[in-house]
């Protein structure tokens, strides 16, 4: 078990023949991901990495039975590509692009109403179930199979936490990047709910940032609904207020969404908090020992 993707997932790449898609499709296949083909409009009928290329997602789904898509399409065309994936019945679409216009995402989220495709991203490294399936751009060699579910807004901070866990002999069930944009496909609560339902996940790590209410909202949800220990870190304690730090999501608009305020609220809700980004791994290990959870 795992969440969203596993060894049975049939993965296609949208924008398959591009440089980054090619590099990460190869890496995904190396760790065992079942990549079944790709889509590049205008290149249908060709073969890439030994796999079929289709003009549309609908054709790819019909021919391969694909249920997961890694969307490597440039920002101006990305929302359209996601709608195409939803229309074709893809179950999980992961969109990597950084720089999708926010209004496009607002329209996309409206398009999804009444349909059950899970959208991960945009502006995310994607998700990985180590040893089984990678849909994204993360360096797969830092992940080790285990019982810790990770969800983060930032991609590189997800890698940072993972490296710390791996160095301590800890492993990941599934790692999910929900992305740094203000309007994104999947929120923390959706991922926490999936981790709660997954028997293989015994511990959950949530990594947030300054700006917005969602970390605290998720921590509040977890207090009532998550039976597994939750360890959190929120980046941006040293960030000056009112400034946009890379991610459009990362603006401190009022007192309540500074990093320190969020970590205080999360701690008050009874969860574990790592105050130092270099001590995420240690905090997880201590929490596991305290709760009698096996290190694996």
């Amino acid at each position: 078990m795992s969440v969203f993707v596993n060894k049975h997932s049939k993965v296609i790449f949208q924008g398959f023949t591009g440089e980054h898609a090619t590099f990460h499709a190869q890496d995904a296949m190396r760790i065992g991901t079942n990549v079944v083909g790709g889509v590049t409009p205008g290149k249908g009928g060709a073969t890439h990495l030994g796999l079929p290329v289709f003009d549309t997602v609908a054709e790819a789904v019909a021919a391969t039975g694909a249920d997961v898509s890694a969307v490597f399409v440039p920002p101006p065309f990305n929302a359209d590509a996601l709608m195409e994936a939803i229309d074709a019945g893809i179950k999980v679409a992961v969109t990597i692009a950084d720089g999708i216009p926010v209004h496009d995402m607002v329209r996309l989220q409206r398009y999804r109403v009444g349909r059950d495709t899970i959208i991960i991203g945009p502006n995310t490294p994607g998700l990985i179930t180590p040893g089984e399936c990678k849909v994204g751009i993360m360096p797969s060699n830092i992940y080790r199979k285990g019982n810790i579910g990770i969800v983060s807004r930032s991609g590189t901070l997800n890698y940072e936490a993972t490296e710390q866990l791996t160095a301590l002999g800890l492993g990941t069930s599934t790692s999910v990047g929900i992305g740094g944009d203000p309007v994104n496909g999947t929120d923390f609560v959706t991922v926490l709910r999936a981790f709660e339902a997954d028997p293989e996940t015994e511990v959950v790590v949530m990594i947030g940032e300054i700006g917005g209410p969602q970390e605290v909202a998720a921590a509040r949800w977890a207090k009532e609904n998550l039976s597994k220990p939750l360890i959190c870190f929120v980046a941006g304690v040293a960030a000056p207020p009112g400034r946009r730090m890379g991610h459009a999501g990362a603006i401190i608009s009022n007192e309540a969404d500074t990093a320190a305020a969020k970590m205080n609220s999360i701690e008050e809700l009874g969860h574990y908090v790592a105050r130092n980004p270099a001590q995420i791994g240690e905090t997880v290990l201590n929490a596991m020992r305290e709760r009698g959870i096996a290190v694996k």
Partner: protein
Amino acid sequence: MNIHEYQAKELLQSFGVPVPVGGVAFNPTQARQTAEELGGSRWVVKAQIHAGGRGKAGGVRVVDSLDEVKKAAESLIGRRLVTHQTGPEGSLVQRVWVEQASQIQKEFYLGMVIDRGTQRITVIASSEGGMDIEEVARVTPDKIVKEVIDPAIGLRDFQCRKVATAIGLKGKLMPQMVKLMKAIYRCMRDKDALQGEINPLAVVGGGDEARLMVLDAKFVFDDNALYRQKQITEMRDLAEEDPKEVEASSHDLNYIALDGNIGCIVNGAGLAMATLDAISLHGGSPANFLDVGGGASPEKVTNACRIVLEDPNVKCILVNIFAGINRCDWIAKGLIQACESLKIQVPLVVRLAGTNVEEGRKILDESGLAFITAENLDSAAAKAVAIVKG
């Protein structure tokens, strides 16, 4: 991207929103001339800078003669205006907006913003106009009205009537409010605005002459959508932005100056923030936030080093790269290129991890240059702080 008040008013007018008749002026003579052409006997002269809080800072003058218009413009143009949003150095006023003064009966607040919670454009309105809306929300939250817009349906008349009723706009003013709100919504949607704020929205003129008027407007647009917004892109005023941030963005880098002495080059906003946090926890002080983003080429890394080093306070550079879509070998090549072309004198602490890390480390080792390598975030921050503390 921010625009000036006068640009927002001109834009709103093109969508059919009522704004006072006025004109922009770049010097006092022009200001006087504009007022004369506008006619009337009372004018408002408003300093045009992006920062808010202009009224309280003396940037808005109401005057009763053409000579006073000129004097007001003289006292504003070419001076730095300090408001609670500009910082102590203030913002240089390069132009003023001159408009006919309105007979204000009552002021309201009307805003539209892409709300993260609902993931839709949400209307925020209040009967308490002319005040800071965050303050209103804190002190009298019951005076704030919200209405969520379905992007597939658009803003409906009945929603506008709900808002109008809730803030006390009745009679002939109600249909005006419906028309005005729908126009502002169209402007937000068509121009990729993230936020539009009308404060105040005023009822001007008395009795049968009473009508709605936008007296101040602040709009923020989505940088990621500028590729399809030519008109908005042309409104960008680079003089309002930090020149180093402008230069960085021209190289597709995200740079924000801070006041410490450890220069930072990191990939990814989250890790960049965490790097600042780690430096602070070790008792150091970061000189900047810099996100090189994904797919950083050697040229991009060189540009990043140059921009960081333009800050004379920088005593050490901390490079923290956890490559996913990036590749450590490209970063390493970029650092070597930067050391050679920029003749970097300050120590460079480098932490590489992730995609192609072995190749990256090998390139650094074989360069013969004096990089201080670090195995992880904690030791990288510790080494950088130790260097600046001597």
